[in-house]
């Protein structure tokens, strides 16, 4: 018996015009072009590789195949390897990651909001002290190298002074511990202005995420300002223009069956406003709306399935490329998993209550601790920390793209597993459904074949 077997995580695409094969290995993330002869040996499995091993002239080729994880030692267990890699990421003590909900209050009333109509709470000075203590204790016991904060809401900028004040204190705390610090803010963009952006930048906020759901009429219908007839769309666009060049902006377009067809019009509008054109500080992508909680149950019939979303995503990417935007990073990258299943990531509510996921913000039943108290390994917390898709989900164990998605969204797997009974692909990556098309798109973009004039 030979030394090698083909990896279980190889994916092949035939290139007719060249009579060659593309091979993507999901563990190493490598993409290569193969001669048909090598493809045939790989398809033959262990026996085919034995043929190569017996040929002294193929030593270098075997080494390269091995370097790319395309072939592995016969007794190498790739599932064990992936599980180990997954757990090393999950339990890595490198970074403490906090999402801080500065307020549950919001000045908008988005139709798909999952947070409900709780009494608006604002984080105050007491919470700042508690968070600082929480962080310092953990720095000392865990030896983190970095701290990352996501400012979240409600609308986090309704409590901007809290962000400014706590950021300063965090920066002061990080210094003697030599802790690298970074942050971002998820905002609806209605309150943002130049002065705020400058201040945030000085406080190490590296970017902001703002959602625009379509051209004005569509966006305003989906994301209206509370108790006002004022257009949030116009306001947001003006604010984005003001802050570009100060802070990078990430525009998220939440799409479903009712608004995806208007995406092109939005892109055109962003261009007309000088927002999209050649702007290195701006990035735009589509995301999906989902029935995360019962608070947004009314939107479920409009939501895309993963398959529908995947189709929309490819269309959207083609749209961008065709308009002259090189996406640059169309290629997928292997992920570990969401920080929600790590013991080093928490969401902190304005009252100090702890969660593991944004989707639980406002859900009192999901509280799993408090920032003022030691975190105990209670039942709720263990549900997250013990997330182990390769052991818990047979579909993931059998999936040859597991290294790419790491089991998908833990919130869905843990809290909405009933959905997966009816729709097995609900929590899968779009790559799983359209891998060949996505790789082809990447290659064409890389070769500049899809660009048109802008």
């Amino acid at each position: 018996m030979g030394q090698f077997k083909p990896s279980d995580y190889n994916h092949f695409i035939y290139i007719e015009e060249e009579d060659k094969y593309l091979i993507y290995n999901a563990i190493s993330n490598g993409l290569a072009k193969l001669e048909p002869e090598i493809f045939n040996r790989l398809k033959e499995g262990v026996k085919g590789l034995e043929t190569l091993e017996q040929d002294p002239g193929k030593k270098d080729l075997l080494q390269r195949l091995s370097d790319g994880n395309i072939i592995v030692d016969n007794d190498f267990d790739e599932i064990d390897f992936l599980r180990t890699r997954f757990n090393m990421g999950k339990f890595s003590q490198k970074t403490l990651s906090l999402t801080i909900v500065t307020t549950a209050d919001c000045n908008m009333a988005c139709v798909y909001c999952y947070q409900g109509t709780q009494t608006p709470a604002y984080a105050g000075k007491n919470l700042q002290d508690s968070i600082l203590k929480f962080v310092e204790e953990r720095i000392k016991s865990m030896g983190y190298k970095s701290l990352y904060v996501t400012w979240y809401g409600g609308e986090p900028l309704l409590n901007k002074d809290f962000i400014f004040s706590l950021s300063k204190k965090i920066l002061k705390l990080c210094k003697p511990h030599n802790l690298l610090y970074g942050a971002m803010v998820v905002t609806n963009g209605t309150i943002m202005n130049k002065a705020i952006a400058k201040k945030l930048k000085g406080l190490k906020v590296g970017r902001m995420q703002i959602t625009i759901d379509g051209p004005q009429a569509i966006h305003d219908r989906r994301r209206p300002i509370k108790n006002s007839k004022k257009s949030s769309y116009k306001l947001i666009l003006e604010n984005v223009k003001r802050v570009l060049g100060i802070l990078p902006v990430q525009i998220r377009i939440n799409v479903d069956k009712t608004n995806f067809s208007n995406t092109l019009e939005l892109l055109e509008n962003l261009e007309r406003n000088g927002i999209l054109n050649n702007n290195k500080d701006l990035n735009v992508y589509i995301g999906y709306t989902r029935e995360w909680t019962t608070n947004c149950k009314n939107i479920s019939h409009n939501c895309f399935s993963m398959k529908e979303f995947s189709v929309a995503e490819i269309e959207f990417q083609k749209m961008l490329i065709a308009r002259g935007y090189s996406l640059g990073n169309l290629y997928l990258s292997p992920t570990g998993t969401c920080v929600s299943v790590s013991p080093h990531g928490y969401v902190i509510e304005p009252g100090g209550e702890l969660h593991k996921c944004w989707s639980d913000v406002g859900n009192k039943e999901a509280y799993l601790g408090h920032v003022d108290k030691p975190v105990t390994f209670n039942k709720k917390l263990l549900k997250w920390l013990s997330f182990d898709p390769l052991m818990q989900m047979p579909e993931c164990r059998a999936c040859k793209l597991f290294p790419v998605c790491g089991g998908g969204c833990p919130y869905v797997a843990i809290k909405q597993s009933n959905i997966l009974k009816d729709d097995k692909e609900y929590n899968c990556t779009p790559w799983k459904l359209f891998m060949e098309e996505k790789i082809q798109l990447f290659l064409k973009d890389k070769a500049g074949q899809l660009k048109s004039k802008i």
């Binding site: 890699r85 996501t150 998820v186």
Partner: protein
Amino acid sequence: MEWIIQPLNGFNEVAAVIFSDCPSAFSTTSCAWYSECNGTGRMIIVQT
């Protein structure tokens, strides 16, 4: 055989995602499920 994208090797060469260079945080697509993490880079990845 010709590499188009070089493979990442072992544990150490897998790029860090959490911080500012996070490909999932500031890209349209490179993260496989950025939609779930809202593109914020909350994804963690193996780094030793």
